[in-house]
Symmetry: C7
Subunit: 75 residues, 7 copies
């Protein structure tokens, strides 16, 4: 990824792709990035929740509130 | 859910549906999503409160303050 | 409560009614909802304070600062 | 107190009266409410500081920063 | 102090006087209140730092960031 | 670096360079600083995640949310 | 320092001088104050990181995010 993106451009580039969303609490959500807004609120599709590496829940879709997000990375 | 929604559109789409609201403290509220506003304040109907998976309380209606919300998912 | 309220309309509907106000710290206040403002600051009348289910204090009136509020439910 | 006050009106009504100011940290300050502003910053006169019910300090006047305040009640 | 001050007037009244600044972390700073601004940022002169009542450090001048301040009282 | 930069000028000067991003939680991310915005949101390329000095994860690219950032230093 | 400075004037007065920056987490950074902005974001040169009094790291330059800063004092 040599092209220069500003952070929000990076996020819109990975819409629809599988991502990992880690929260400040340590919880991790794996799913397809359905949408994201300026407050870092995230909607994931086919979401799996992991706690300390263990699968704890699955959801069709999950709305994750931005202010808990620590980082988002491509899965 | 292949259509593209932005996060708040996602939320209004699930008004009236059974949802799970998880707070940063770990508490979970199960109920019908009655309404939600721009601050993520949520009103649930026929609400059940779970603490570490155990049912701890039931309410007719509960107003949950947005800044405690970690995520909202369809039940 | 089938009518659709937005969260703040819900709150004004329960003014004067007995409510439970739970704080992020876990403290609970039971009393009559005297008034509430846009910051979720709450004034309760005939207030009882509970800590882990035990009655710890009673007040004539108590002003509770909004940013500590986790949820408000009808008693 | 049957008259309807909004929260800030309640606070101005109790200026000059003995109050208890409880902070999110659990510390309690007992004193006469000298003044309060829109950020919930409080000045108390003849202030006593309690920690878990034990008197730990006394001050002539103390300025308490609003964002630590959990609740204010009439003593 | 029977005259009525609003909180910020109280603070400007004690400029130059010895004060105690307690932080939310429990640390205490004793020194002469050199200046304070609207964010509660404080500059103290001849500052002594106390941790649980024990003198831990002294500084010529210290700039203390407002959002950590719990209370300020006259020494 | 004797020239005078204001903090944001410093950050843009190190775009493209290897940096260490430490979060308030203690997690460290090592990678090339791809971009940064006014909220301190950071995108790193070829990212390595360290927890207490141990390599815990690697990502192609990671978006790190600004409000968790404690400091950024040149690697 | 008898002259009266407001806090931000104090900070600009000590630009270029050796300072100690203490974070709310307890970490301390010693270095030359290269620059500071209105959000209390700080750039230090020749930076040493101390944890509980022990030297843990050194950096050429470090950008420290303002909202973690507890106090800044002249070294």
């Amino acid at each position: 990824m040599s092209e220069k993106f500003d952070p929000s451009a990076f996020l819109s580039k990975i819409i629809g792709q599988p991502v990992i969303v880690k929260l400040s609490s340590g919880l991790e959500f794996h799913g397809d990035l359905q949408s994201i807004d300026g407050f870092m609120n995230v909607v994931l599709e086919d979401t799996k929740e992991y706690n300390k590496g263990k699968l704890t829940k699955t959801y069709a879709d999950a709305f994750i509130r931005g202010n808990n997000v620590m980082y988002i990375s491509q899965a």
